[in-house]
Symmetry: C2
Subunit: 654 residues, 2 copies
């Protein structure tokens, strides 16, 4: 696990039509829009945060809070204690975008933003504007709710990204001073706090900072936070000192310790519990630290929680979090489609976790889940115009029910312009802007090509890869690999689980048997050019859920390649739940360049019961006459981009 | 509508095996148990109130609060502002029981209780122990939350019942003094409060008091409360005077005005909205007042709301309230089975409403719903041992989900010993103890026999009815009617909607054609004995929901006679949702005297998919092999009387 890798991804350019469009959207729409919103100059309406713990307000105030903390403006802090993180995640996204789309105007803005952040930072490195402005006496005093380490951690992530792209040392200095501030304040010493943040994130941020700076102190601090978590009643002790009723965020008092990932030490935890984003951020940090320290028990904890999430608690779209109450995981196989959460941030976090697990173990399973998130659960969080966002990503949505039933009104039928707690919009932005980091993993010097996102890449071991395809709409992936060294080099190509029965690999014109090792086919690439064609199984397929998932009994979900499909009311005559797919398995699929930015739609044979003449609420049953019809399915990620409509992923199966 | 009726039910004795058992349970178990609980001497554990607005405590304290208010004890008030109502509803149930089961010991207790209540009452008639003990300066100051009129109204109901049975005048005097206190404090005068209670109930209580006392002031006051409701921002004005943040009940601040039945004047309201119990209590009061005053617009409001509830918002069991959030109605046809509420009190209230509508209009539809409530939604609220109660009556319950999913943990899988907010236990008790009042309605001197609960009854117009059957297990209802007068008398016999296709009426041995007028067959009964046999259609039937109810699509509910059936895990091999009823409509039904107090169980043909070998969370669909089997159904009201088990009413239909 600790094997040092010498090979490195030196350069990568994304050429995928599908992803270039998203990444240009980030540059042209998302970053300017979000910058305006954070500067309170966008004319938008802010939707209530669907988890319910909402400090609702008309504007973001995120930049203004920094200006007040920097002494440039006077006023009150507005928003959550972690309001600053919107700025930092935006900055991180901007940093990634500057790599693939250098832009002097944007660079001026981000450099000035770094100056502003530097001005807002205190002498000792502390920077959380809420506490600086409103409650300087409560710094680090109520970590269960304060999000202070979470907030600074997000800056650290942004700084690492920004420094890597721009070499702006001031940006990095702010981050190291923050981490130094934590290192002084936290630990087992007499004057130190033996505790951790209620919202994990700092662990992964410190690991990233360590990777960049090689300052071992930061890795040790990350380990400290991981190890302390859940050990004793630290939160209670702090709260009794801070004052029981002085909540920092309304409604958080009664959440159980599982919500805060503090119910037990992580090495003893058997299942993923509580707030889904917190779980996957923590797991990402753990996986990171496990790799950097070789801590096998941490790796095992990651494997255990991964297994529980992926085998018992994940929606077919990659969504996680089965309830809005506490934005949390629930029991095994408890996957309701209509009252669920499936937060965009949780899918983003699950992609982080998958990426780190791939760094630990060359298993296709991690990349399968990463692909599921990238093509479904993550991008469903952002509208095709780049200015509307989902917090909740349901698998079933009904406009009237969302409006009239408070148990279901966290499920929106259209993406919102912004949220009171706006964690998701910038999170999806930074993920898309850095998607080039998710295509390859280097493990023991071997290049693992696991995501089919067309690109040109150059590795330090002399391998140059040109990967071309029209994925996800077509399944033929062409690799032109140039081995510029004199030695043969190993490369692993992932065969997705959904294609393992019918996938085909053609090397220099010759079909090769698929010999899979944990989901990868390993090929030895000799000097010079090797042409590889991977032909994936792009048949339309129906999936069914495990028999313990009561909500999906008798239903199927349609998938083609990595894309999960859904039925949207706007494409059918009747309400979506009235259709039943017939048993013939005949489908037509077409690429429609005009529809929703261009995508493949599927037509499937279905039936629906003839309309009842008797309109009573209940009537004696008579076997219905079914009428044959066709239904049209669109990719899940693209739903709710036309009108606010009813949608479902799981469809009745004959 | 104002036609005075001269005929009266003079005497009735219930002989039904089914109901006698329940009514003996009230005497032997329910009343003694609840009395102990209210005196804090029962060794029980109190379950959180599933609506979420819980002032949780270890004991009821309901009697102790009265003792403190009466100056007999010192101490703090405990529980809700309406804690007294538990005592009053119990007293009302006790009163009814004394009629069918005279009991000197109980009579001593209730008479002493009246003395205690009299001692607790203030000079001016006011009696709400919370405000007397804890907040005398806030009397009538925050009616949106205070439940003061609701609380005294429940005493008035109890007093009317107690006086009618015992002629205890002290009991009635307390009630009239309460009502006089209200009449002085409420109205349009300078010193009066132009407002009403956030929880309707006083309207029906005052109407009952008027009927007994014939004091017109009480009827006018009931009208005043009905008319004022929703007219202006009365609640806001009171709250701004009382202090915005000084909530009497945590969590109630943000409920919408619909919750309080105060969003608009009742005559303008088109649909039933908000807290279901409040809706049906209000409607009962309105129907009562409409009958007593001849107010046609009130009758129309009742008809409109009835129609909306029964045709769009009622579960097949009679349950109402589709969400626990605000214990409320939601949209039309929004009837989720797993996250619903279906409060026992709401079914009891719906029975009140039906009874009053029957007093207004001789329509079988009202009696159909009344029957549905009596045999399903109401009695499901009480265990067969009389000491456990449901607040929420779901149509689908899953033990693991209730435990692990906070969006669903208001749905219990076993009845509780008591609740923090214990409105349901005494409500179901008073309904069962007074079920003799729900069997006949006299409309324009005509006797309407609408509930098939065996009884012997004597009417003031000279008619004596002996109704015999083994209902609900058998469908032959034998009437022996003795007309002791010399004139022919009309009697209406209801043919339930579920039997109108195949019902049969045999009069003195001769089969008579069913000529229905609004669900009733009217017969002219001559002097002497008439023998009538009503033969109802007791075939097992499957019902389906209106096509707009997405939750029940492709599913059926099984009913036999008035009894709705369910599948409980304990009777099957597999989890309940895995079964699909086949299309043959062959059933076996048997009366099992040993099972759950004796009831008819149904066996139906079903199938289930062969167990999957592949245990992945998602797998490629292959048409399952179905295995034929039989499933056993039990009456819905009897579920959760063995173990805490999974249950469902709506079953997949082939």
């Amino acid at each position: 696990m600790l094997t040092k890798t010498n090979n490195k991804l030196e350069k990568i350019e994304i050429t995928s039509t599908f992803w270039k469009k998203y990444r240009e959207l980030i540059v042209k729409e998302v970053l300017p829009y979000q910058w305006e919103v954070m500067n309170d100059s966008a004319d938008i309406s802010i939707t209530h945060e669907p988890g319910g713990n909402d400090a609702h307000q008309e504007h973001s105030h995120a930049i203004q809070n920094l200006e007040i903390a920097a002494g440039l403006k006077k006023g009150k802090h507005n928003g959550y204690t972690f309001q600053d993180t919107d700025v930092y995640k935006w900055l991180e996204a901007a940093a990634y975008s500057l790599k693939y789309h250098p832009d002097n105007e944007l660079r001026k803005i981000t450099d000035s933003l770094i100056d502003l952040i530097a001005d807002a930072q205190e002498e000792d490195g502390y920077l959380v504007t809420y506490f600086q402005i409103e409650a300087p006496d409560r710094k680090f005093a109520r970590l269960k709710q304060s999000h202070e380490l979470y907030t600074m951690g997000h800056y650290i992530e942004a700084a690492v990204a920004y420094y890597e792209v721009t070499q702006n040392h001031k940006a990095l200095d702010i981050a190291t001073r923050m981490a130094d501030c934590m290192a002084i304040n936290f630990g087992y010493g007499d004057q130190q706090i033996p505790g951790y943040d209620g919202h994990p994130e700092i662990e992964l941020a410190l690991a990233r900072l360590y990777e960049l700076t090689q300052n071992h102190k930061y890795l040790e601090l990350a380990e400290f936070y991981i190890n302390e978590r859940g050990q004793d009643n630290f939160f209670d002790r702090q709260i009794s000192e801070d004052g029981f009723t002085r909540d920092l965020i309304d409604g958080m008092r009664n959440f159980p310790l599982t919500y805060y990932q503090a119910a037990e030490p992580i090495r003893e935890q058997e299942t993923a519990e509580g707030h889904a984003v917190r779980v996957v951020y923590l797991c990402t940090g753990m996986a990171y630290v496990a790799r950097l320290t070789g801590d096998r028990s941490l790796l095992e904890s990651c494997q255990r929680l991964w297994k529980n999430i992926v085998e018992q608690k994940m929606y077919i779209t990659g969504g996680i979090g089965s309830t809005n109450i506490g934005e949390s995981f629930t029991g095994n196989y408890d996957l309701p489609n209509d009252t669920m959460y499936g937060e965009t941030c949780a899918s983003v976090g699950m992609a982080f976790f998958a990426k780190e697990m791939l760094n630990l173990e060359a298993k296709g399973e991690y990349a399968d889940v990463l692909e599921k998130q990238l093509f479904n659960g993550i991008i469903s969080g952002i509208s095709l115009d780049g200015t509307h966002f989902f917090y909740v990503n349901p698998l079933q949505a009904d406009k009237e029910t969302s409006k009239n039933n408070p148990s279901r009104n966290h499920v929106l039928n259209q993406r919102a312009e912004w949220f009171g707690c706006a964690c998701c919009p910038s999170n999806v932005a930074r993920l898309i802007a850095s998607v080039d980091k998710y295509i390859y993993t280097i493990k023991d010097d071997v290049i693992l090509s696991h995501q089919f996102i067309s690109n040109k890449a150059k590795f330090s071991n002399g391998i140059e890869v040109c990967q071309e395809s029209n994925y996800p709409w077509e399944g033929t992936i062409s690799y032109t690999i140039n081995n510029t060294s004199t030695l043969d080099k190993l490369i692993g190509i992932r065969i997705p689980k959904w294609s393992q029965k019918n996938g085909k690999l053609i090397i220099n014109g010759e079909t090769k048997e698929l010999i899979l090792e944990d989901g990868f086919v390993y090929l030895s690439i000799s000097q010079g050019i090797t042409n590889i064609q991977l032909v994936l199984d792009m048949a339309v397929k129906k999936y069914q859920a495990n028999e313990n998932v009561s909500y999906d009994f008798g239903k199927v979900a349609v998938q083609r390649g990595p894309i999960v499909y859904c039925v949207e009311k706007i494409d059918q005559d009747l309400d979506v739940w009235k259709y039943t797919l017939t048993n013939d398995n005949e489908y037509q699929f077409t690429f429609d360049p005009q529809l929703l930015g261009g995508l493949v739609t599927i037509q499937a044979n279905a039936k629906f019961p003839e309309e009842q003449e008797n309109k009573s609420l209940y009537r004696e049953y008579s076997a219905p006459t079914f009428i044959k019809t066709k239904i049209k399915l669109i990719p899940y990620y693209a739903w709710a981009n036309r009108e606010s409509e009813n949608m479902e992923v799981w469809i009745n199966q004959e």
